[in-house]
């Protein structure tokens, strides 16, 4: 049994296609779940999570497995997509009150969001092979959390693509994000209506293979 088992493991290791685990990171409300849903919908026909205008809607990491993305050159990459909770340096329940959430529920939501950030950081340390970092292109890219997270991702030597999201909005300026992070590929995209989503897929095939 020992020899056949070892042989089987070697053969499966040789012929099994490696699946890269790609984490979608970014601050709350950057469009991470919208992107995860779009990728899963376009390439596997499933939906990953629910979206909302309320920050920290995603409070647990959600994984969509074994998605194969094929580029225009015929090359492909097989990935697991991990949609992570929004990363931030401060969580305040008062933020949720503005959306009509009751105080007690808001406090619970804040606690879950805090646990979610810790979980997202755990995944980044233990289980992630590459990162799509989402930034809302209508906002200042020099936010503390963006600087910190890009620094952390760089220090862990993970390949990263920055998605400058929400270019469907009139005040989106993806060039500001390019200027802020010239060392990384920046892809302007609208995950909501799919504008330039193909460019992101091309970059993923190129970057995460």
């Amino acid at each position: 049994m020992g020899i056949s088992h070892t042989l089987s493991r070697i053969l499966s290791g040789l012929f099994q296609k490696k699946t890269a685990r790609i984490g979608i990171y970014g601050p709350p409300n950057a469009g991470k779940t919208t992107l995860a849903n779009r990728i899963a919908g376009d390439w596997s026909g499933t939906i990953s999570g629910t979206t909302s205008e309320v920050p920290h809607e995603t409070r647990r990491a959600a994984r969509s497995g074994n998605i194969t993305i094929t580029g225009s050159n015929g090359k492909s990459v097989t990935i697991d997509i991990v949609d992570t909770p929004g990363v931030t340096t401060r969580v305040d329940y008062k933020e949720f009150l503005e959306y009509g959430i009751e105080r007690e529920d808001a406090i619970n939501r804040a606690r879950e969001a805090t646990e979610g950030v810790a979980e997202a950081m755990h995944w980044l340390r233990e289980d992630i092979d590459g990162v799509i970092y989402m930034i809302d292109a209508t906002l200042d890219p020099f936010a503390q959390v963006n600087i910190m997270m890009i620094g952390i991702i760089e220090s862990r030597k993970l390949p990263v693509i920055i998605a400058a999201n929400k270019i469907d909005l009139p005040d989106a300026t993806p060039q500001r994000i390019r200027n802020a992070f010239p060392q990384h590929p920046v892809v302007p995209v609208s995950c909501l209506d799919g504008t330039q989503i193909e460019s992101l897929y091309e970059e993923m095939v190129r970057h995460f293979r």
Binding site: T88, R90, T114
Partner: protein, 128 residues
């Protein structure tokens, strides 16, 4: 919250120099000193740096292991806690600490009070 500079051993009654470094020697590493400097902080709101004390050998301290751990933590990042609970529902998150390990050191409000999640620390060690 008193902190001692690891470069020149100067004790500061609060954490105001953690970010910019020690004004005496420029060193950026500090050790949290439990139970020291609180009196000075209240007596002198301007909180001038206290006189440097004669360096003590670590082995003189009763809680040698605890101090080693704190020193190690401060070398890795400038603050001890991974999560600070300001009040129920309001949290400050130290991303640099959270990426280092699953160990949870939680600071409560502005008090010098910490809670250690021993379960998270045991889980980490088992994994190793």
């Amino acid at each position: 919250m008193p902190h001692r500079c690891t470069g020149c051993n100067t004790l500061f009654p609060d954490a105001r120099y953690l970010k910019d470094g020690c004004p005496v020697c420029g060193c950026g590493k500090f050790i949290y000193e439990k139970g020291k400097g609180r009196k000075e902080t209240r007596a002198e709101p301007d909180s001038k740096p206290l006189e440097p004390e004669t360096p003590r050998k670590i082995s003189d301290d009763k809680n040698t292991d605890v101090k080693k751990e704190i020193s190690k933590d401060t070398q890795e990042s400038d603050s001890l806690e991974s999560i600070r609970i300001l009040e129920p529902g309001r949290y400050d998150l130290n991303l640099s600490r959270l990426i280092e390990s699953d160990d949870r050191v939680v600071r409560l409000g502005s008090e010098d009070s910490y809670r250690l999640d021993l379960h998270s620390m045991i889980r980490q060690k088992r994994k190793k």
